[in-house]
Symmetry: C3
Subunit: 350 residues, 3 copies
């Protein structure tokens, strides 16, 4: 991808100071930028880099007055950081949606259809009766089973595996190696101590604007649906068991696990390596610190938790502080005991 | 897949009340069912749904006497729930084993053979000298290295990676993204602080009726075999290190990790996110609560553990209850100390 | 792979006692070896196996004097264990680097080049503008995005996914299902409680002699690079977030997670299921016990930590010992309180 400084100035509504034909291929920090990159200067303490940077262009405030000669092309804007973010988003969008067309060999089953501006990587597989929207990008080695529905503008990265009957919304991102719709972990104990598999015939529903991290797993429901609501962001290596429901705009960090049939509310914030037991109901706007172990329902909204088993966040910290000095506390008690024993006979002798 | 109500009545040994030519395509709960689905009514408190359900057929007890008019087709059986389970299993079996034939392109090395009713998904890879049994289903993008043996009726879901020399039994299920036989994590520290790789030349043996979850990893043995015995059920994202042995009918929940050379007994129940240190021996019928950290051998059978480090399950809960009020406990001790100091001079003054 | 006993004797600088034309196909423990295997005898307590082993050859000390007749071929060396290790390494190296050639179908984009002795498995994908060194082995179903650089002698196992712009050094091993360069987990909270994706435009740099475990994930940097330095060994199912830096020769066990922008020093040893918060700086030669939760910087080198939140390793064990008896400790305090109350009135009465 390549832009001229004129094109960038137009994109961010900036004023060009220098050549408009400089070619920009990437974005970088001002102190690390090399030729072909555009950087920004917002914080005055980085000003010195402006005079030595190798960046081909720099976004800078309209009010900035240079103390030395500037060799690079400048683009004057109201808010350099905000303009840079706009640029990043545009760059990222273009890179992400650049791929178009069908690479061969790829496999498409019967009665499956895709919308326009579709990308299909080589060795990607789409089963029978699938409905895939516009601008959907399916990267190489991805697998999509039968009867899957995918909305518009969704990106399926390499090696994602989507089981049959999954429904995915618009503007979702599924990162490499994610597995959607694998069998729930359901086994009925038998009299001889062995286990019989409980058939898992439900599916997974993922609503719009959901992001699923690399190698994260979402199991299908035993019956009905495992549901990931609008705007949920799941990090890498997360486990979501059968019949779980995650409320809208909840964010979950890496390696957290949610057991079967638990319902997480809306707008929750969940740290890394947290574990939730099964069949819980967690109120909206709850937050859980990293490595929490959650075994009980949370009924009140907006509370914070920590620990395993988890309880009130700040109380946990106070308990953990005492935990550190438990050996000293124990010694103190033993000394007290001795003192009291010494005192004891006085009473008796009375 | 489509059945008539007559076919279903025959399958479950039921008596038809209504049309025998109604077409059933799926199963559902009575309160959620739509046209084309079969549901069941076992619990009397759901009776009202019977009169309003959209289900095309309902399994119901022979002794049931409706209070209102029933519009849907009924199949009368002795035990509706048990008949529904039979139906689910049959449905699930049919869906699972429906795929037959070789999709192209797929890759098969030299001197590798498969049994009858084989399914090979597109972009699946089978190396040299493999022996694959009857009714084995290998989904798209799965990889099977050289010299692998797989028994009958085993299902390898999309993107499973099986390293060379692995041996897998009958009626096993390996879910998407599982990795079997990757190198054990063995590195010999060198004098300069760096590490030299210890060659890992063993393999993995998986016995019959084993289920392996999505993105779970089982490393090969350094020498000899990592062994997963008959009937073991492993959930998603589990780590099984080199030379581990897991006893028959042990069940392990998601994200648990077992370090090198540890031997887990038979019929154990292990929660999610549990960690086992290396070289342990865990007695049969042990159970471990979620997030336990196990650093010692368990020699007595049938005990329950919790905590990190793990100890007796119910004792852990009692300790955890005190942990929550440690700040108050500490305060109490400090008050005691003060009181004792106040008392102290009395003794001294004597 | 097959060697004669003469070839093996030459490889380890040993003296042959018996036939030089015996064919060796594998290595094994002396008590488990079968025909075609070579074993070793170092520990005198295993001597009895020498007389009954089915091994076709045994490595043994030059100074060894047998008590009974030995039927198998012997190779006399100075240090049998060390010679066996040499053999293992050679065997492993040959197996690993045996694969050469391009299996079809595989996909290579425009302007991508590979060195000599290259192996490309079927259904592997290499994007545009990649530079791949000599002796690189890319197994089936692996994905390598655009602009990726890979040094010499690096092995990419099946189903590895490498995102665009990743740089990988020499002598690295990436195990099956590993994901390198997925988007960092960056989302900016919006006023309405939803999240906006922060573009992730950096990359991942992996230096020489790095080993990455199966299904481990390393996210790309937001800007700049996530860096894994020389000689780092990462086990399976590890999460490395955006902009993390891991110092040289640090070893990390399975299922550990490192949050964004944290910098781990050199020569650290990190157990399994450990969690690091973001933006930390961890001094070199630190070690962390399994399941530790690290929330603070470590400034002094060479210290050991345990617990969640983690603190000094041996202090943690002492606190954990008291934790186990907290209910008894609480009882003791209550008894003390009672005694002091009994004493109390005495003082008052005085």
């Amino acid at each position: 991808m390549e832009f001229t400084t004129t094109e960038i100035a137009n994109l961010v509504g900036g004023e060009l100071k220098g050549s408009g034909s400089v070619k920009i291929r990437t974005v970088a920090k001002i102190e690390e930028a090399s030729e072909g990159a555009i950087a920004f200067l917002a914080n005055p303490k980085y000003e010195n880099y402006l005079y030595s940077t190798l960046a081909s262009a720099v976004l800078i405030s309209r009010s900035f007055i240079p103390k030395e000669e500037v060799k690079t092309t400048l683009i004057l804007v109201d808010d350099p950081y905000s303009s840079f973010t706009t640029l990043l988003e545009e760059y990222s969008r273009l890179v992400t949606f650049a791929k178009v067309g069908i690479e061969q060999p790829s496999f498409t089953g019967e009665n499956s259809f895709s919308g326009k501006n579709h990308y299909r990587g080589a060795f990607s597989y789409v089963g029978n009766n699938c409905r895939i929207g516009d601008n959907v990008k399916i990267y190489p080695n991805a697998y999509i089973g039968d009867n899957v529905q995918i909305g518009n503008n969704t990106i399926i990265y390499p090696g994602v595996k989507i089981y049959a009957n999954t429904v995915i919304g618009n503007y979702c991102t599924l990162h490499a190696g994610a597995v959607i719709g694998s069998d729930g972990f359901g086994f009925a104990p038998q009299k001889d101590g062995s286990y019989k598999t409980i058939p898992q015939i439900g599916n997974v529903i993922i609503e719009d604007h959901v992001s699923i991290g690399a190698n994260t797993v979402i199991d299908c429901a035993t019956m009905g649906s495992t549901v990931i609501h609008e705007g949920v962001k799941l990090d890498n290596l997360i486990q979501v068991a059968h019949n779980v429901e995650i409320g809208k705009h909840t964010v979950i960090a890496a390696q957290t696990g949610i057991s079967g049939s638990t319902r997480i509310g809306d707008y929750c914030m969940i740290g890394g390596q947290v574990g939730f037991a099964g069949h819980l109901k967690i109120a909206s706007r709850s937050s859980f610190g990293a490595q929490s172990g959650v075994g009980n329902n949370v009924t009140e909204e907006g509370k914070s938790f920590l620990g395993s088993p988890a309880f009130d966040y700040s109380k946990y910290f106070r308990s953990a502080a005492v935990f550190r000095k438990l050996p000293e506390v124990l010694k103190k008690i033993e000394e007290l005991e001795e003192k009291v024993i010494t005192l004891g006979p006085v009473e008796k002798g009375r």
